[in-house]
Amino acid sequence: MKFHWTNRLRVATFITVLTFLAAIPVKAQDGKSLFKANCASCHKALKNSTGPMLQGAKARWTDAGEADNIYKWVKDPVGLANSGTSPYAVQISEYSPTAMTAQGHLTNEEIDAILDYADNVKPVAKTAVASSDVDGKDGQEEGGALLWIILLIVVFSVVIFAARGVRKQLAYVVAEKEGEEIELNKSIKEKLGEWIVRNWKFTTIAFVLLAVTGGADLMKRGFQVGVYADYKPSQPINYSHKLHAGEMGIDCKYCHNSAEKSKHAGIPTVNVCMNCHENVVESDYRLGSTENIAKIHAAAGYDSETRKYTGNTSPIVWNKAHNLPDHVFFSHAQHVNTKTGNIDCKQCHGNVPTYGLGRVSTTEEINQLAGTDGIIPLTKPLLTMGWCLECHNEKAVDLTKSDYYKELHGRLKSRPDFLRKISEDDKITVRELGGWECAKCHY
């Protein structure tokens, strides 16, 4: 009980501090998210953009003697400028030919939060290097592991040799002391032979074990050759699917827009990026985002200061993540188009909105999505032929969905025996219509 009051005091202080501490981030966080949601497409905090820079906006209105008009301005800029009551509004409405969009849904508190946030934004040090992706597996350091293994082998062999030398020396010493005769003239080969003969049981077992494990390992590795599951090459631009497809909810086919028409889904061309990034010049999404956006601008030949195209373009060289061998013909149009396969992108690409850089998913990841959007669980590694065939064996074809399939169905009906055979399991799969035939994909 001795500490009762102090405890109380402590608790009270703690809560106060906590509340206090909590209050600031909550408010700042609100300001940031409100800013992002409502203003960021035109305004930057630290820079003039489509709209003027927001930092110091409040002060500028105050300096103009119209501190209260800022709320009216945000809620109805045109109304305020036309009202004749605000000279500053008239002045700033000449900033750009595009009138500011009225943000009538914001409360004064929210406007304050936004402006406070803008005033508190600190410039990011330009030296910051684009670093690792949010999910932290950027690039592949295949060389590193190998180097370590070699280094370890070297160290161990040195140790072993050293130890062996010491042991040998000791043996000589012991032998010398005990007066034994040492057969110094025997070669290592002969010694080894003798040793093997002496320990034949051990060597046989060791040999068999080695052969079996080695063989098994070789086979396992062999099956991994050309398997691209979980492959994530580094990219010239640290692009995040998580941000674009995930948080912003941009549809896959907005960027990969030839997926429905062509065999290639298509890597978005720079002009597609520029649809948004003409305005989205900066981002504090994560460290280095602004630099990445600058790379798009460099490729497009876009000067974000003057907001003009210089014509000086340089294409972006991406590293392809999903690689099929040359002799495989795969068509996105066949699979993705609503009138053909109508398969959800997730079936093969997994939960892309959670990825950073483009990468090949793994079977396990995709299987976690099974059951939603018609995703079929599969067992084989991605992008292998077994995996394709597995799906073709499972996937049912809806023969009523278009005139193409109706015609096909009509023909099948004229061979009832065949139709009965293939629809025994109440579905007609891709395989049963020929989806396992070589020349469907290989030509």
Binding site: G266, N271, W318, G434, C438, H442, Y443
Partner: protein, 1135 residues
């Protein structure tokens, strides 16, 4: 006399030479010529001992292991700004027009990601209705020839446009100011805008007196409809120092001149072969080379349909042909008469005599007379629906032909010859050319600009012309794409764009307006000739690659001239956009009536035939033509339609002449030598001498060649002075090194010899034949000839032919009976249809999904070879070069079998007897002397996609399997190259991929995929196969998949036209039809259930998905079927 027909692909097959018999018993003729290989000097380069071998093996295993550890990073570069119309992975098609001074065709170009990769005829719009030649099909590869000039050249060194522009402009100005002679030499220009630019350019150099343009129809001066200004037609030729001269390497100058005399206007008429019931051709190869052959070929095919037509009539044209060297057209004739070239006048006179009774008093042999009488009879039966054409560049002959056609009432609108609708091709006037050439050689010309033509190569006295050109006192400018024979002698070369990079307007005939549009951005720093002229005449500024100068010029011109006469469009933009979209448009034209002026006919003395022992004909081949594209490996690899020789130039000679010349007698071993073309059997070489000119060439004994004549194709002997016209232009050593074959001076040997040297100016026109001397050169030479490759032993039932009469009044069983097999059931024999007997269960293709089927009409197919080039280009078939072809390792997925046929036994025996008789006059009337005048059948042969495919059952790794759509599929990555399938294929259509054609040094100069430029032509939808696999026709499965996908995406059933194989797509005559056989509405279904449909080797029960249509000739006697009841045939016992 037995009337049994025998078919043979070459003399060796006919005579059953030992080597032929030996080879045809083998499925693969892959034997390496070991002696040669070991004896080769190059052997030192690749000696491999056992230890080395083990080392390589060890290294190979290690390398393979290491290579597999690392994941190769594949780069992918998207567009910065994606062009609106381009979707990566989806092809774009552009309508355009092909014209190179020789061939004209409305075409469609397929482009992938901005690269043109495939060309076909435009069947929907334009004059030519889909007609193309192999040259046009292969033209896309010329674009990627890495020897193309990459910028302007001055005195052999790369230069800058600004330098060249300033210098040439200045020099021209000086010359013009001093009254010097300036000549602009071009091949026939059919672009109205270009003509105007050329005249404006010449105008800008010197003020000249111009000639008013008169309307050809009304004879009134013409005025600009918009400005009201009077129009001028160019330059007074005689007074001025500045002139434009048109020059055609193969000229029709005499024909224009004859028409001028006959009708008062120097024009060429429109021929409509589709209206002709009788065609008589005197050496006019109208299917492959003569005038606007692309159109005639398609039109003529219209008349060769034996089935009942829509109007209820059932007829076929009758085609008589007189010629010396068997041409494509001659091979397809119903009646073909071999003549000497100098007898053409006599033939024309004889026909004239029989048609009109006018006797010019020209002596003619009885045989020819008999043929002429027969032809004239038929002509008279079809007055107004007949056509006589002559190929000779000889005014006298053309005048007679005009007279015959006039007498037959063939002239007029809606008739076979429409004089009013003149065509603008081949406008050269040889007399003016001769004058210019003499002026140039005589040093009288101060400036010569050469557009499109290659006179140093193609003039009779090209060498002298070349020397004059190299003279520095004359300003010489070439606009060639290459530093070719002519351009390399010029001081300045201002390289023109390739046709696939250019805008162009064209008016090939009155009322026809066509557009050539670029399909790719210019690859190099070239500039369109028209723009260069505009810059030099001060009408435009030098612009960059994206220059629209000439494009705008064409548009303006079109707006002024063609749009006002357009029938179908109300605004210019509409007119322009649709014309570009369709590739052409038709304008209103006035109609006038030509009057026949009864010109005096030539005297008999001028038509007298030559007495020389030998006459040489310089003819055009369907693949090489005039020789612009000799360096195109696809064209070189394309076996010649008639001789089936690849990569070479040769002398064609009647076999009987060969026996005499090389003293081949009896059945001795010597007899085989030089007559039969095999891998290890070289042919003889001869020296052909015409005046001063000598060519040493190998001899190809060509059945059907007129005796006493020899043929040498034009277009060879290019780049004699090592000019850079393409790496495939030179001879390659016949060994593994793939190096050029060098002569004693270390120069690359050109392929063949230049037979333009045998031509001459005679009476103001170029003559393409001459008296010659032929002497044995006592040398041997290896030819690569595919004629007996992939021979199907004893299976002559593969061909079926009949005559029109049988089709009209006969029963199917007479000319196309079902095959019957003798089967023994329960102790008694009976005959059943071959199709009813089977070892296997039916493959479930009928009525399940699709069943892809093909029908090939042997009547419509004329063997032109467009399909082979189309297949080559579509399916990335490697070019293998001469040596490999010689070893029967050609990789063509589609081959064109050419069979000669003759009546067997009796005639043969008689011929042998006649041959030995003294004083034999080699009677032509005796039609059926086997190699004297055989008839010809062309048969495209590709994978039959058998439903009971023998290849599938023997594959140990199931690399070739059957799809439920009826396709015989080939999975290259599974194939281990046992070649069992090739062994088992009854049609011999499987090809083994012997080498790494993409890297192996042997193919460095011939295979386009070894060239970083030329590999851009590869089709990205088809795998480039690797060494050690079998490959074959896939029925263009990539197109099948694409067609199905398009139908699915549009929610509709697959219809005719969705899926068309490359061969069917490009066939000008519609001989190949492809489609879904399970679709009862489809064309292929109705074709294959017609009376003429049969399946090759039906009796062996492989149930192919390919049908042929019986060949029908319009002849009196029907050929007897080779054999119908195969049960009696000895070869059947093998099965």
């Amino acid at each position: 006399m037995s009337m049994k027909k025998t078919y043979w692909k070459g003399l060796d097959e006919k005579d059953q030479s030992p080597e032929f018999v030996q080879n045809s018993n083998k499925e693969f003729r892959e034997d390496l010529s070991v002696d040669e290989f070991i004896g080769s000097e190059a052997i030192g380069d690749f000696q491999t001992g056992r230890r080395d071998f083990l080392k390589f093996l060890g290294f190979g295993v290690a390398a393979a292991t290491l290579a597999s550890c690392e994941t190769p990073v594949i780069k992918s570069i998207p567009y910065v700004n994606k062009p609106e119309d381009v979707t990566p992975g989806v092809a774009n098609w552009y309508a355009s027009t092909f014209y190179d001074g020789n061939d004209y065709s409305n075409i469609l170009v397929k482009a992938r990601e901005g690269r043109p990769i495939w060309v076909k005829g435009n069947k929907d719009f334009g004059l030519t209705k889909g007609g193309i030649t192999p040259r046009i099909g292969a033209s896309v590869l010329n674009l990627y020839n890495s020897d193309r000039l990459r910028g302007p050249v001055k005195s052999g060194e790369p230069s800058e446009w600004s330098v060249v522009d300033a210098e040439v402009k200045g020099k021209l100005k000086d010359i013009a100011a001093n009254g010097g002679k300036i000549r602009l030499m071009s091949n026939t220009v059919i672009s109205p805008t270009t003509q105007k630019i050329m005249y404006d350019f010449l105008d800008s150099l010197a003020p000249v007196q111009r000639v008013a343009r008169f309307d050809a129809i009304t004879g009134q001066p013409m005025y600009d409809p918009e400005t009201g200004e009077q129009l001028f037609d160019g330059i007074e030729m005689n007074e001025s120092d500045v002139e434009r001269v048109e020059y055609d390497a193969t000229s029709y100058s005499a024909m224009r001149k004859a028409n001028e005399e006959s009708f008062g206007y120097r024009s060429l008429p429109t021929y409509d072969f589709s209206l002709a019931r009788v065609v008589v051709s005197i050496d006019a190869d109208f299917m492959a080379n003569w005038l606007m052959h692309t159109k005639y070929n398609v039109d003529f095919a219209e008349t060769r349909k034996p089935e009942k037509r829509e109007d209820g009539e059932q007829w076929m044209s009758k085609h008589f042909h007189f010629e010396s060297v068997m041409s494509l057209t001659g091979a397809n004739a119903d009646s073909r008469c071999p003549i000497k070239p100098s007898e053409q006048g006599a033939v024309a006179a004889a026909i004239l005599k029989y048609v009109t009774g006018k006797d010019l008093g020209v002596a003619v042999s009885d045989e020819i007379d008999a043929y002429a009488a027969k032809a004239a009879d038929k002509l008279k039966e079809h007055k107004g629906q007949s056509l006589v054409v002559a190929g000779a560049n000889d005014k006298g002959i053309q005048l007679i032909v005009n007279e015959i056609n006039h007498a037959l009432n063939n002239y007029g609108t809606g008739k076979t010859i429409d004089l009013n609708k003149e065509i603008y091709l081949k406008n050269a006037d040889d007399a003016k050319v001769e004058e210019l050439v003499n002026d140039v050689v005589g040093g009288k010309v101060d400036a010569l600009l050469i557009v499109g033509a290659n006179p140093v190569y193609s003039l009779p006295n090209g060498d002298a012309f070349g020397e004059a050109l190299a003279n520095e006192n004359m300003l010489s400018v070439s606009f060639s794409e290459f530093a070719d024979e002519t351009a390399s002698k010029c001081t300045y070369i201002c390289p023109d764009h390739n046709y696939l990079e250019s805008w162009q307007d064209m008016s090939p005939s009155l009322g026809e307006y066509a557009i050539q549009q670029p399909v790719i951005r210019p690859l190099f720093d070239t500039r369109q000739m028209q723009e260069t002229l505009l810059v030099w005449s001060g009408k435009a500024e030098r612009a960059d690659k994206e220059s629209k100068t000439y494009y705008n010029y064409i548009r303006e011109f079109s707006k002024k001239w063609f749009f006002p006469t357009s029938k179908d469009y109300s605004t210019f933009d509409e007119f322009w956009n649709w014309t570009v979209h369709n590739g052409s448009s038709i304008n209103n034209t006035d109609i006038w009536t030509a009057e026949f002026k009864n010109p005096s006919l030539p005297a008999a003395s001028s038509l007298k035939s030559s007495d020389a022992a030998w006459e040489v004909v310089a003819y055009q081949k369907s693949g090489i033509g005039e020789g612009q594209y000799t360096a195109n490996p696809w064209l070189q690899e394309l076996p010649d339609a008639i001789t089936k020789v690849c990569w070479d130039n040769y002398v064609t000679m009647a076999p009987a002449d060969c026996y005499d010349l090389f003293n081949i007698t009896g059945n001795e071993k010597g007899k085989w030598d030089g007559l039969y073309i095999e891998q290890e059997t070289p042919v003889n070489m001869v020296n052909v001498t015409v005046g001063e000119q000598v060519l040493k060439l190998p001899v190809y004994p060509l059945p059907g060649q007129a005796r006493g004549t020899i043929g040498v194709a034009l277009g060879y002997g290019r780049a004699e002075n090592q000019e850079a016209i393409g790496s495939a232009a030179f001879q390659i050593k016949l060994d593994q090194t793939g190096d050029y074959d060098l002569d004693a001076d270390g120069n690359k040997k050109p392929i063949g010899g230049n037979s333009y040297k045998f031509t001459s100016f005679v009476n103001g026109s170029i003559r393409y034949y001459a008296d010659a001397d032929v002497a044995d050169a006592n040398e041997k030479y290896f030819l690569a000839c595919t004629q007996t490759h992939h021979t199907i032993m004893g299976r002559t039932s593969i061909l079926r032919e009949t005559n029109l009469e049988s089709i009209i009044s006969g029963h199917k069983d007479d000319y196309n009976p079902a095959h019957e097999l003798h089967v023994h059931t329960k102790g008694h024999g009976e005959h059943v249809n071959a199709t009813d007997v089977s070892l296997w269960d039916e493959h479930p293709v009928e009525f399940v999904g699709h069943r892809w089927g093909m029908s090939v009409d042997l009547t419509a197919c004329n063997g032109c070879g467009v399909c082979i080039v189309a297949c080559h280009s579509e399916n990335n078939v490697p070019v293998v070069g001469k040596d490999e072809i010689r070893r029967a390792r050609d990789l063509h997925w589609l081959r064109m079998d050419r069979y000669f046929s003759s009546i067997d036994d009796d005639a043969r025996a008689r011929w042998e007897k006649d041959k030995r008789a003294e004083g034999n006059d080699w009677s032509y009337a005796n039609l059926e002397v086997p190699e004297d005048n055989p008839s010809v059948v062309f048969m495209p042969m590709m994978c039959h996609h058998c439903n009971h495919a023998p290849c599938e059952t023997v594959c140990p790794v199931a690399a070739t399997t059957h799809s439920n759509e009826g396709l015989n599929m080939m999975a290259y990555n599974r194939c281990i190259g046992t070649r069992y399938c090739g062994n088992n294929c009854p049609y011999k259509v499987r090809r083994f991929n012997w080498f790494n054609y993409r890297d192996y040094r042997k193919f460095k100069h011939v295979n386009n995929s070894q060239d970083e430029m030329a590999r851009m032509v590869l089709n990205p939808d088809v795998t480039v196969r690797s060494r050690g696999v079998m490959e074959k026709c896939s029925f263009c499965v990539q197109r099948i998949q694409e067609g199905k996908l398009n139908a699915k995406a549009e929610s509709r059933a697959v219809a005719d036209g969705d899926v068309v194989t490359a061969c069917a797509d490009s066939c000008p005559n519609g001989a190949i039809v492809f489609g879904d056989w399970n679709d009862e509405e489809s064309l292929v279904r109705s074709k294959t259930s017609g009376d003429r449909a049969y399946q090759a080797l039906e009796e062996i029960g492989v149930k192919p998905n390919l049908w042929y249509q019986v060949k029908v000739r319009n002849v009196e006697e029907a050929a007897e079927l080779a054999h119908v009841d195969t049960a009696d045939e000895p070869h059947n016992e093998e099965h």
